[in-house]
């Protein structure tokens, strides 16, 4: 199947934790193809998670290699099945938007460096270190597998500087 429609919040699947993939079969391979096609169809899209196309399974794809922020630091196309963040370091705030929550953006804090473990499309275990924008994209897509949206992680409405006076 080609590109799938991206579900928009308040679709309930977007807030539901997804199930782990137990066996990589034709169904999962078809899902991976759909995810990649859907990612490539979205303007500027650098990742899609299965719940966003209506499948509540722990699968996501990320590819920041064509993006302005990720082109110099990436692993190309990543197909991640049952991904787990094994370690995370550093923190940086980026203003994120999401295809499932159009017309809104917010400042979200993420790890700058992560080690992520997952199963590849061929069923092999893989571990890799990602940093910068690729790390942000992986964390954003993995949040979808837990029913988390960037709206659940917005850190501030304004810079902290402007809040201090009220503490006096």
């Amino acid at each position: 199947m080609p590109e799938q429609k991206i579900l928009l919040y308040p679709h309930p699947l977007l807030k539901r934790p997804a199930r782990s993939v137990e066996r990589i079969d034709d169904e999962i391979r078809a899902l991976v193809t759909d995810l990649i096609d859907t990612m490539h169809a979205g303007p500027g899209s650098v990742g899609v998670a299965a719940p966003q196309i209506g499948v509540s399974l722990r699968v996501c794809v990320v590819d920041v290699s064509a993006s302005r922020h990720g082109k110099d630091n990436n692993h190309g196309l990543l197909v991640m099945i049952n991904p787990v963040i094994l370690a995370g370091h550093g923190a940086a705030v980026m203003r994120e938007g999401c295809m499932s929550v159009p017309d809104y953006t917010g400042d979200v804090q993420r790890f700058t460096d992560i080690t992520v473990g997952f199963t590849t499309e061929d069923g092999d275990p893989r571990e890799l270190q990602a940093s910068g924008f690729e790390a942000v994209a992986i964390q954003h897509e993995m949040d979808h597998l837990d029913g988390m949206l960037f709206l659940d992680r917005i850190v501030s409405l304004k810079t902290g500087l402007f809040r201090r006076k009220s503490y006096k």
Partner: protein, 186 residues
Amino acid sequence: MGPTDSLAHYAITIISKDRPGIVADTTEVLYRLGCNIEDSSCTMLGGDFAMILIVTHEKPFAKSRLAEEFKALQERTGLAVHLRTLHEDELIHSQEEGELCLISVYGSDQPGIVYRVTRALADRGVNITDLNTRLIGTKSEPVYVLMLEAILPQGMTVEDTAAMLESLRSELKVEIGVRAITPVSL
């Protein structure tokens, strides 16, 4: 204008001495009248709380109903309300495509920091989308902080903007930083 044809739009501004309940009091009136809050920004300014709201109501609707309700609220709570009808041409937002950046300016307090910076930006067609200022520091050494977000015109870079503001940095003896904060779509 499509669906907005059937809606009356109003801009409401409220500034009141801060206390718990200002938002609740205001939105209770709007809720009872059947108004929808389309867009709003509310914050503390000094010891006051300021609210700016765009609200809609299905036509036909008399603005005087809003005015009467708010007059009663004002008499009861001291909230001062200003109400204005928005016309159709004010409802169209232009879809800007340039880079979004955050510009920080801070240094010893002096008259004209906001004016000089924003005039320089305006002259180059930079559109401010959000702006905050605050006086911090001590009485003997007051420090002024200006933070703003702005959309650069097509083709203008963060570096161009920083270079353009460079002369103000030495003239006003302030620190000026320009950072790209264009949202990433994931």
